[in-house]
């Protein structure tokens, strides 16, 4: 049972435009969400996170939106740059600060930003 779903395996956008990556989850116990970025032959690197008490978190060109009622989050990248081309993983956890340290990852979306 896939608890974190990234339904678009790939996304292609033009440089300078907005990239929107989507993620849905089914477990209502998830209260902390993260986005990771992964280049080929490297480990994932943390990008941005959001707690369930917020509906938006912004860090430079990256903004994550959380819609708890729809169990949906999205990552916006504005403006997109060729160096943003990578696989983006959505991840979720429950019991933040408690005993559950596990992250559940989606399958990833390959973003390609064309010059």
């Amino acid at each position: 049972d896939q608890q974190v779903k990234q339904n678009s395996p790939s996304l292609s956008v033009q440089e300078g435009r907005i990239s929107i990556l989507n993620c849905d989850y089914t477990n209502s116990m998830f209260d902390y969400f993260l986005w990771y970025k992964k280049y080929p032959a490297e480990g994932p690197t943390f990008l941005i996170s959001i707690s369930s008490i917020k509906d938006k978190n912004e860090d430079g060109r990256f903004t994550v939106f959380l819609n708890k009622s729809a169990k949906h989050l999205s990552l916006h990248i504005v403006p997109s740059q060729p160096g943003d081309s990578a696989v983006y993983f959505c991840a979720a956890s429950s019991g933040s600060g408690g005993s559950n340290y596990k992250l559940t990852f989606g399958k990833g979306t390959l973003l390609t930003v064309n010059p």
Binding site: L34, A41, E42, G43, P44, F46, F89, Y101
Partner: protein, 112 residues
Amino acid sequence: DVKVTQSSRYLVKRTGEKVFLECVQDMDHENMFWYRQDPGLGLRLIYFSYDVKMKEKGDIPEGYSVSREKKERFSLILESASTNQTSMYLCASSGRILDEQFFGPGTRLTVL
């Protein structure tokens, strides 16, 4: 600067061999994790450890075991490697409070 290192970037082994993958972190993190990444399947958790000598099964533990004798080191063991264990293996660590995990560069394992 935080660091998670893995013993090998690339490894080629034969079916039936015993394989050790080592991971070391220098952040004094309590939690350590082993994942495998396969095309179309994302990151799947194999095992994790929340303290020295403690371990818990993840989503796909079959065919794997782990060892954590020291806080900074977490080993993944393939007792008898099989071709379906050909994959990218990623180690990660996190602190007690934060859920952000820091990943190593990965080990590309090929089992022939």
